[in-house]
């Protein structure tokens, strides 16, 4: 009976993952996954609920309610932090389970390896995710890179400890400490704009930690579900890396960006006013909006929606061009735009829209910088050379809404800003859009 429940659960998990792949079926995917999870958890009791005391049930109920409460109250703009936090909890749970198995029983040597692996990955995911959350809230600066590099050599090494040493409590505690610190400083050296990679990678690790916990307790469903998460997380991680033309190792090494390398311009940019932008837009037939992290920071998505409506009322075509690593987690911009009811049919990926820029009348860049920097195509010495960018400089006119000429994450000047077809509106994204909308009423 239990076997059949588990089989159904595993099949449901696989279908859920499949359904996550299309916007029209994705909401059903969540239901499938929840059902699969409920069946899997139920089966773990093996119809014997009396083995568990009240402390057990109280913990489940209280933390479940807490989970619902947190997830309902958090604002959409804090979504990356929340995903990071929950992910850290999952990793921490696997790490704790591996610890209990290591210290409680005398495991066969092969299980000791798996348990240490699970413990290291789980605890690393836990502390790394918490640091990622702090980074996303802007509460942590970049950490000393050298120290982190020395430390990271330790991590793979400690998994091999059981080869040479008999496990004892002190050794296990030492491994825990190294994994905790390892997670903290590894993520701490990585800059904020690389967080889409980090979040996806930690997500994958929490799946791998769960999978290896499945090996220790001999649970096939745990192995299957953990492997599914681990594999899908790796896909997202690699997608994010490809979108930046960097390797995963390179991102994890950290130390990229954050400081201005060269931010000098040959000439002054042309600045513009909200009134002029409104006039420019009202004469356009096609407008492409490029949102970046600046839009998220300014919480400008409602203003974006309002401007979109205004333009569409004038029969102007509006599209959104979204770079895969815009924002702080995979798909961040899409979620923010969906929050204000912008149709996902209007959101375009880099591959789909790049050929259209040359025939676009006006492109509006909202708080994006490196992902529209033409140096990625032309300057072989540039740190972002080879990164796929949105070719907005090819459009007829470009308006960049940005608070100053300060460089983006890569720390380099963006010649787009002084291009002949570009004008700068120096203001915060939300304020700028609201002023443009106001000016429209006067046009």
């Amino acid at each position: 009976m239990i076997e059949i429940i588990l089989l159904v659960s595993a099949i449901l998990f696989i279908f859920a993952l499949k359904l996550f792949g299309r916007p029209s079926t994705a909401h059903r995917a969540n239901t499938f996954a929840m059902l699969a999870m409920a069946l899997a958890v139920f089966s773990a009791f093996n119809f014997d609920f009396s083995k568990y005391d009240s402390a057990f049930y109280i913990t489940i109920v209280v933390s479940g309610l807490l989970g619902v409460l947190i997830s309902k109250r958090v604002q959409m703009t804090q979504m990356p932090e929340l995903v990071g936090l929950f992910n850290g909890f999952g990793g921490g749970a696997s790490g704790a389970i591996a610890y209990v198995e290591l210290s409680g029983n005398s495991l066969p040597i092969s299980d000791v390896f798996v348990a240490i692996f699970s413990m290291v990955i789980g605890i690393f995911t836990f502390s790394g995710s918490l640091v990622a959350v702090m980074k996303l809230r802007g509460k942590l600066n970049n950490f000393n890179k050298k120290l982190a590099d020395i430390f990271s050599v330790f991590l793979p090494a400690i998994i091999l400890i059981p080869v040479v040493l008999e496990m004892d409590d002190l050794l296990i505690e030492f491994i825990i400490l190294v994994s905790l610190i390892g997670g903290v400083i590894r993520v701490a050296v990585i800059g904020g704009a690389d967080m889409p990679v980090v979040i996806a990678f930690l997500n994958s690790l929490s799946g791998i930690a769960a999978m290896s916990a499945g090996f220790i307790v001999n649970s096939i469903i745990l192995i299957v579900a953990g492997a599914l998460v681990g594999a899908s997380g790796i896909i997202l991680t690699l997608l994010m890396c490809t979108a930046m033309n960097r390797t995963l190792l390179d991102v994890l090494k950290g130390g990229f960006g954050g400081t201005a390398i060269n931010n000098e311009y040959e000439k002054d940019p042309t600045s513009t006013s909200p009134e002029d932008v409104a006039i420019q837009l009202s004469y356009a037939e096609s407008v492409v909006i490029v949102p970046g992290y600046g839009m998220a920071v300014a919480q400008a998505q409602a203003a974006v929606k309002e401007l979109t409506n205004t333009l569409k009322d004038k029969n102007i075509e509006v599209k959104f061009a979204i770079h895969p690593v815009a924002g702080r987690m995979p798909g961040h911009m899409n979620v923010l735009l969906a929050e204000v009811d912008i149709d996902y049919e209007d959101m375009f990926t880099l591959e789909d829209i790049n050929s259209e820029f040359s025939s676009t009348d006006v492109v509006m860049v909202l708080g994006a910088n490196d992902v529209v920097n033409p140096l990625a195509r032309t300057d072989e010495d540039s740190p972002i050379y080879g990164m796929p960018i949105l070719d907005v400089d090819l459009a007829k006119q470009v308006i960049v809404i940005k608070r100053s000429m300060s460089p983006g994450y890569a720390g380099i000047a963006n010649p787009l800003f002084i291009n002949d077809n570009a004008k700068m509106l120096f203001t915060d994204a939300k304020e700028g859009l609201e002023n443009i909308i106001k000016s429209f009423e006067l046009v």
Partner: protein, 95 residues
Amino acid sequence: MEATFLLTLLITFLASFIGYELISKIPQTLHTPLMSGSNAISGITLIAAILIYPEVGESQLLKIIVLIAIAFATLNIVGGFSVTGRILEMFKKND
């Protein structure tokens, strides 16, 4: 469910392969809900905690650590699915 180690490895490989194949064509719009949903699934480690809880024996410390694991995993599962539902709700109303 018990199986030999090799069979278990085969299952692991197949599951990873399926996960990789299913997700490799996912559109960018769904990156966040996918990540959030698979994040919730990683809380399935709760099963391991449920399985070992009756077996921890007398040690109060180990018992508390398993309870912490249970709390973390439950938070991960319930919170994760709930957030994913919220995100997907925003995509649904466009249909």
